[in-house]
Each structure stands twice: as structure tokens, then as C-alpha cells.
């Protein structure tokens, strides 16, 4: 499917999904509550068959925290971008997609490590690189007296 068809197809799954076209890939914006159902549908449906999770990117939009998923189908060759964001900085929760794509396990741990986005139903959500006492250094409000700025 090309980008336009993908957009129409995803819109037909649930009218809540916001579709944005015109860039390299079709972008789907979903609320965190519907992230997992969208992901599993895209993975299972014969028309889309997104079997490859390319990357998970965490973003601090201030004050929102967001995630960007890049998906690819190795059968059809098409790609899609899923975006999701929450305004809860204290306890930002997203459903883990590591039961759908195994690769999400480490991606989600990294996002949690650096941005503090929590993943519900993740099998092993520990810090990946940093110590547990470290804050979340890629958040814009991260404070560290050791940092020397320009």
C-alpha cells in the first residue's frame, strides 16, 4: 500500500486515529490508551502486516512526553509512523508493545531510562544504562549541577 491507502485503511480501523500525510511516511497520532490495540491490529491484519519495529523514539515536547514508533512491513515494504503523547509528567504511562514485537523490549527500556516513560506490561522494566538513582537526563527539566553549559 502507498501512504494514502495506508492512511485510509488505518482511519477505517478506528475514527479516533488522527492521520497526517504529506511527509515521507504516513503519521498516525493515537491516545496512549489505544496505542496497543492499534499496534496489534497493524501487526496482525493481512493488508498491513507490520512485522518489523524499526525504532522507538522518546520525545520531550514540554510539557508533554511522547513516543514515536517507526514500523515496517517486510512483506509489503511499506512504512508507517505512530505517535502518541501524554501530558502526565509524573507518571507517564504507555502500554508496552513488547508482546507484539520482541524488539520493543530494549527500545522501551532505553526510553524509560532516558525519559522516564513507563511501559505497562513490560516484562523487565529496569534502567538500561544508568544507575537507578540517576534522574531522566533527556528530559528538558533535568537538573544536574555537574553539567557545564555553553
Amino acid at each position: 500500500m502507498d501512504n494514502k491507502q495506508l492512511g485510509e485503511f488505518i482511519k477505517s480501523l478506528d475514527a479516533d486515529f488522527e492521520i497526517k500525510e504529506g511527509k515521507q511516511f504516513t503519521e498516525v497520532t493515537v491516545p496512549p490508551a489505544k496505542l496497543h490495540s492499534l499496534a496489534s491490529q497493524l501487526r496482525e491484519k493481512e493488508e498491513t502486516l507490520f512485522d518489523f519495529l524499526v525504532s522507538i523514539t522518546g520525545v520531550d515536547y514540554v510539557p508533554d512526553l511522547g513516543l514515536i514508533y517507526h514500523l515496517r512491513s517486510t512483506k509489503h515494504g511499506h512504512m508507517v509512523v505512530i505517535k502518541s503523547r501524554t501530558s502526565d509528567r509524573e507518571n507517564p504511562q504507555f502500554d508496552s508493545v513488547s508482546d507484539i514485537w520482541e524488539a520493543a523490549d530494549l527500545h522501551e527500556r532505553e526510553a524509560f531510562d532516558l525519559l522516564g516513560t513507563r511501559f505497562v506490561n513490560h516484562p523487565d522494566l529496569r534502567r538500561l544504562f544508568l544507575n537507578s538513582s540517576w534522574g531522566f537526563p533527556l528530559r528538558k527539566d533535568y537538573v544536574d549541577d555537574d553539567i557545564i553549559t555553553w
Binding site: L130, N131, Y142, I148, T149, W150
Partner: protein, 186 residues
């Protein structure tokens, strides 16, 4: 204070090395020092320790083309117990710092430290806006020789190691203890 195959005047900064000369007028001690230092400087075994790209240059320095075994840095030791010098080759981050400190503590006296590359001297390219960098290994362990560069060429590391040999020549067994006691790193 000439090193095998390299004349004294080919080194820079000879005057400050003269100032560092620690063994004073004691004839007996000076002679013992000369013998001991000769042994120490000609069998400087480095520790296999490299954390990033400087390590590649350090490997090249040990490889046949530059071959610092010529000067007595005979063989890389995989155990800190058997090593005399630690070449800190590469970025040290906060998570790595305790490991480096521990390795240094595990080395037996006499031990020397060469800080190789910009990262180990000041933090280098990661100096600003980094939440992980240790801004200079001298914050953790005492450094004998700094080799600037990003990364330094093998020739630069060789020069630094030869300077370390000359530095060892200036030291005395008596002052070594005082020197270590004066370092209080956490």
C-alpha cells in the same frame, strides 16, 4: 637522561625534567635509584585498558609498525596485578569511573598513569552539556603524563611513553611513598 635511540635534545621540555629530579646529593641512594629506575623504566608493562577510539591508536602503537616493545613496554598485561602503567585510552564516563579507580588501586607499586587523548584530559568534545562525562581522569587517579590529541597519533603516544620513562628516571624510591600519600582521591 637519554633514551635508547633518541637523543636528549630531541625531546621538548628538558628544563622542567631537570627540576623534577628528586634524588638529591645522597651518593649511595642516587646510585641505587639509578639502578632501580633503569629497571623500572625499561620494563613498563601497560594494562590492557581502552574505552574508545584512543584504544585503537594504542593498539596500533603496540602493533609491529610502531612497536613500543622496542622501548621496554614489552607486553600488554590483562591483569592489573602484573601491569606497571595504565594508559587511560578513551572517554571515562561516570559509570566507568569506579571501574577505572578500582583497576588503578589493584595495580601494584610502582604504578604510573598516562592520560591519552582529549577526553581523559578535560572531557574533550563532551566537556559541555554532558550528564555522563568525567571531566579529566585526574579527578579520579593521579596522572603522570598527558598525551593530547583526539585521538593522539601512535607517534604522540610513543613520545608520551618515552617522556614517562624519563620521568621515572628522575624519581627516587624515597619520594615515591610521599607522592602516593599526598594523593587523596576518592
Amino acid at each position: 637522561m637519554g633514551i635508547k635511540g633518541m637523543k636528549n635534545e630531541e625531546f621538548g621540555d628538558n628544563e622542567s625534567l631537570e627540576l623534577l629530579k628528586e634524588s638529591g646529593t645522597n651518593v649511595l641512594l642516587t646510585t641505587i635509584d639509578d639502578v632501580i629506575n633503569w629497571g623500572r623504566k625499561n620494563s613498563l608493562w601497560p594494562l590492557t585498558f581502552a574505552t574508545s577510539c584512543c584504544g585503537i591508536e594504542m593498539m596500533q602503537t603496540g602493533a609491529p609498525k610502531h612497536d613500543f616493545a622496542r622501548f621496554g613496554m614489552e607486553v600488554y598485561r590483562a591483569s592489573p596485578r602484573q601491569a606497571d602503567v595504565i594508559v587511560v585510552a578513551g572517554t571515562i564516563v561516570k559509570k566507568m569511573a569506579p571501574v577505572l579507580k578500582r583497576l588503578y588501586d589493584q595495580m601494584s607499586e610502582p604504578k604510573y598513569v598516562v592520560a591519552m587523548g582529549a577526553c581523559t584530559i578535560t572531557g574533550g568534545p563532551f566537556y559541555r552539556d554532558s550528564y555522563t562525562i568525567v571531566r579529566g581522569v585526574e579527578l579520579i587517579i593521579p596522572v603522570d603524563v598527558f598525551v593530547p590529541g583526539c585521538p593522539p597519533r601512535p607517534q604522540a603516544l610513543l613520545y608520551g611513553m618515552l617522556q614517562l620513562q624519563r620521568l621515572i628516571e628522575t624519581q627516587t624510591i624515597k619520594s615515591r611513598k610521599v607522592r602516593n600519600a599526598s594523593h587523596n582521591y576518592k
